[in-house]
C-alpha cells in the first residue's frame, strides 16, 4: 500500500507545471467561492442584525389588523396591561410603546408619503438603536418645540434643514384629516436610503395629541435577553391577550428570513458551480495523465498488477492531488475569513450604490464550522466523482498495447 501511495504521489509531480496549475486552480476556486460565501452570509446577517436592532426589535404587538390596514383606530386599548405583563416577565429585557400614523409630508416644493412613528424617548433607546443613526443636530430629546427626527434623504428631497418646520397631514382616530407642524431637530442616515426617505420619528405624546388628544398605542416593541426565546414569548402573549397580535421579527419581516435562506442556497449553488469547474479540471488533468501513460499502464497490467490496484493507483493520484489542493484552499479560506471577519471588506467605493439595497459598505464575512463541513463534503464528493472515470479508463486498457510497437 505504501508503494502505491509513493507511485501515485510521484506520478503527480511528473508534470509539476500541470499539477501545479490544477492545484492553484483548486485553491483559488475554493478560496473565491468560500470568501464569497462568507461575504454573502455576513452581508445578510449584518443586514438582519441591523434591521432587528434598529427597527424591528425581537417581537412586536399590534391590533390584529394594523399591519395590513394601518388605520388609525386600530390601536391597542389594553396597552397598559400588556406593558405591565412585559415589565414583569423575566425573559423580556426592555419594551417600548409607539403610536403611528401614515402621513403626507409637505414642503414648499413637494409632498411625499411618510410613516410617522411616535416614540417614547425614555424607553425607545433601550429597544432600538435609531437614535444612534443621528448625523446632524439632536435626537427627539431636543428642547425645540415638537421635535422631529428625519432621514437626510427626506430632508434633501423636501429641501429642509435643521430648525425648519415640517408639516404633516394625516387621519386622526375619528377619520378627520389633521395637520401638525414639527421642528426638525436632527437628521439620521441608515444603510437604506429607502428607509431614510419614508420614516419620520416624533415623540409619542405629540403624535397621540394630534391623533386623539389622549395617549394612543399602535405598537409595542420588545427585545428579549435571548432572541431564541422569541417564539415562546410570542405564543404566550397571543394566548394571554387575545385582542392583540404578537409577532416575531421574522413574521413581521418574512423577507428577511427568506433572504437568509435564499443566500444560503445561492452560496451553495456558487460552490457547486465552482466545484463542477474544478471537477472538469481534475478530470482533464487525469485523462491527460492516463493517455500519455497508456503503455506504462499496459505494462503494469501485463506484468500482473491487478485492475483493482491500477484503479486505486489512479484514484489515489487524483484524490491526493485534488484533496491537497482542497485542503490548502480551505485552510487559506479559513484564515482569510478569520481575518476578514475582524477587519471587514470595505466596499465603500461602491457604497452609494449598495445603500440603495440597504447594504453596509463594510461587510464582515462569517462562516460557521457547519458551512466548512458542507463545503468539504461537496469538495470530496466532486473529487471522487471526477476521479472515478479516469480510474475506470485506466483499467479498461488492453495490456497488449504495452508489448506492441
Amino acid at each position: 500500500m505504501n508503494m502505491l501511495l509513493t507511485i501515485s504521489w510521484r506520478n503527480i509531480w511528473r508534470h509539476p507545471a500541470r499539477s501545479g496549475i490544477l492545484l492553484v486552480a483548486i485553491i483559488a476556486g475554493l478560496w473565491a467561492g468560500i470568501v464569497t460565501m462568507g461575504w454573502g452570509k455576513g452581508m445578510v446577517q449584518q443586514r438582519s442584525d441591523y434591521l432587528i436592532r434598529s427597527e424591528l426589535s425581537h417581537a412586536q404587538i399590534h391590533h390584529p389588523e394594523f399591519l395590513a390596514e394601518r388605520e388609525p383606530w386600530m390601536h391597542i386599548p389594553e396597552a397598559e396591561e400588556v406593558s405591565r405583563w412585559l415589565a414583569g416577565d423575566e425573559r423580556i429585557r426592555n419594551h417600548t410603546m409607539r403610536s403611528r400614523a401614515d402621513a403626507m409630508a409637505q414642503s414648499p416644493l413637494t409632498t411625499t408619503g411618510v410613516r410617522l412613528i411616535g416614540v417614547d424617548i425614555d424607553t425607545e433607546p433601550d429597544v432600538t438603536t435609531m437614535h444612534r443613526q443621528l448625523t446632524v443636530g439632536e435626537y427627539l430629546d431636543s428642547d425645540v418645540r415638537q421635535p422631529v427626527f428625519i432621514g437626510e434623504r427626506l430632508a434633501e428631497k423636501l429641501n429642509l434643514e435643521i430648525g425648519h418646520r415640517l408639516v404633516v397631514r394625516f387621519q386622526d382616530m375619528d377619520n378627520e384629516i389633521t395637520a401638525g407642524a414639527f421642528t426638525i431637530s436632527g437628521l439620521y442616515r441608515t444603510a437604506s436610503s429607502d428607509f431614510d426617505e419614508r420614516n419620520v420619528f416624533v415623540r409619542k405624546e405629540h403624535l397621540s395629541e394630534l391623533l386623539a388628544q389622549e395617549p394612543v398605542v399602535h405598537e409595542i416593541a420588545m427585545v428579549l435577553h435571548d432572541m431564541e426565546m422569541v417564539d415562546e414569548v410570542v405564543a404566550d402573549l397571543n394566548r394571554l391577550f387575545p385582542g392583540v397580535s404578537a409577532q416575531s421579527w421574522y413574521e413581521i419581516s418574512p423577507e428577511l428570513r427568506y433572504m437568509n435562506d435564499m443566500i444560503g442556497i445561492m452560496l451553495y449553488f456558487i460552490i457547486g458551480i465552482i466545484m463542477l469547474a474544478l471537477a472538469f479540471g481534475i478530470l482533464n488533468t487525469m485523462l491527460m495523465a492516463i493517455f500519455e501513460r497508456v503503455r506504462e499502464l499496459g505494462m503494469l497490467l501485463s506484468i500482473g498488477m491487478s485492475k483493482r490496484r491500477v484503479f486505486s493507483m489512479i484514484m489515489l493520484e487524483s484524490v491526493m492531488l485534488s484533496l491537497s489542493g482542497a485542503a490548502a484552499g480551505m485552510l487559506l479560506s479559513r484564515l482569510s475569513i478569520g481575518w476578514l471577519s475582524r477587519h471587514g471588506i470595505d466596499l465603500s467605493m461602491f457604497g452609494d450604490g449598495l445603500a440603495e439595497f440597504g447594504i453596509d459598505a463594510v461587510i464582515y464575512p462569517v462562516l460557521d464550522g457547519q458551512d466548512f463541513v458542507v463545503v468539504a463534503i461537496i469538495v470530496i464528493a466532486a473529487t471522487l466523482i471526477a476521479s472515478i472515470w479516469p480510474g475506470l479508463k485506466a483499467i479498461r486498457l488492453n495490456p497488449i498495447v504495452a508489448a506492441r510497437e
Binding site: T6, N11, M299, I303, G304, M305, S306, A403, E405
Partner: protein
C-alpha cells in the same frame, strides 16, 4: 515435462472487418530450462504468439496450457494473477515505472505478490547485484542506459520466481554491445538458475545465441531447430 503447450493456436485480428490471420494452428511445446528464440520477419506473428503464451491476449481458436493450467479458460482477473505468479515479462520498451528507482521497480512486483517487506528489499538488492547494477540501485530509469534498463527488467522478471520469462524483442532498442551483454546475462541466468527464456528477435547475432530456434512465417511455424551449443557440450 513441457511447461508450455499450445494446441492448434490461432489468432485472427479484426475478424468482422479486415481479418488478419496472425497465427494459424500453431502447435508447439516448451520444456523446462529452454533458451529459445522465436524468429521470423516482421509481421510473421512472433509478438502475437508470445502474447498468447503469456496470457496477455486470448486466441481465436485452440488453447495454451502452462503446466496443467488452461490459460485460455481463465477469467481476466485470474489471468492477471496467473501472470504475476508464473510468468516474467521483458518488453522491448516501456518496461519500467519511470517514477521508481531500479530497486523500487524490482520490489514493486514482489509487493504485488504480497511478499514481506524485508524479503522484498533483500531480493531486490541481490537481483540488481546479479544483473550487474549493484551501484545503480537508486537510479531512476531515465538515468539509466537502454541496456541497463533492460537489465532492471530482467531482474524484475526474475524477482517473482516465474516458471519462464517471455521477452519480446528485448534487444531491438539496444546497440549491439548492449544487446550482447543482455544476452550474456540471460544466458547466465538460464545456465546458473535454470530459468527458461523464450525471446523473439530478428537480430542474427542474437539468434545465434539461442539453443532452440523456432522460425515463424506468416503465422505458422516454418522450422523448429534444436542446436547443440558449446555450453551444452561442456
Amino acid at each position: 515435462m513441457s511447461i508450455i503447450k499450445t494446441e492448434k493456436l490461432s489468432k485472427v485480428y479484426n475478424p468482422d472487418t479486415v481479418p488478419v490471420h496472425a497465427l494459424r494452428e500453431v502447435t508447439m511445446s516448451i520444456e523446462q530450462g529452454e533458451f529459445t528464440a522465436i524468429v521470423g520477419p516482421s509481421g510473421s506473428g512472433k509478438t502475437t504468439l508470445l502474447n498468447m503464451l503469456g496470457g496477455l491476449d486470448r486466441p481465436s481458436d485452440g488453447s495454451v496450457f502452462i503446466n496443467d493450467t488452461n490459460v485460455t479458460g481463465l477469467s481476466d482477473k485470474k489471468r492477471i494473477d496467473f501472470r504475476l505468479n508464473n510468468i516474467g515479462f521483458v518488453f522491448q520498451h516501456y518496461n519500467l515505472i519511470p517514477v521508481f528507482t531500479a530497486r523500487e521497480n524490482v520490489s514493486f512486483i514482489m509487493l504485488l505478490q504480497k511478499r514481506g517487506k524485508e524479503e522484498m528489499q533483500r531480493r531486490a538488492d541481490q537481483l540488481l547485484e546479479e544483473v550487474g547494477l549493484g551501484d545503480r540501485k537508486d537510479a531512476r530509469p531515465g538515468e539509466l542506459s537502454g541496456g541497463q534498463q533492460q537489465r532492471v527488467a530482467v531482474a524484475r522478471a526474475l524477482a517473482t520466481e516465474p516458471r519462464f520469462i517471455l521477452a519480446d524483442e528485448p534487444t531491438a532498442n539496444l546497440d549491439s554491445a548492449s544487446a550482447m551483454n543482455l544476452l550474456d546475462l540471460m544466458e547466465q541466468m538460464n545456465r546458473e538458475k535454470g530459468v527458461t527464456f523464450i525471446f523473439s528477435t530478428h537480430d542474427q547475432r542474437v539468434i545465434e545465441r539461442a539453443r532452440r530456434v523456432i522460425t515463424m512465417v506468416d503465422g505458422r511455424i516454418d522450422t523448429d531447430e534444436v542446436r547443440k551449443s558449446e555450453t551444452d557440450a561442456a
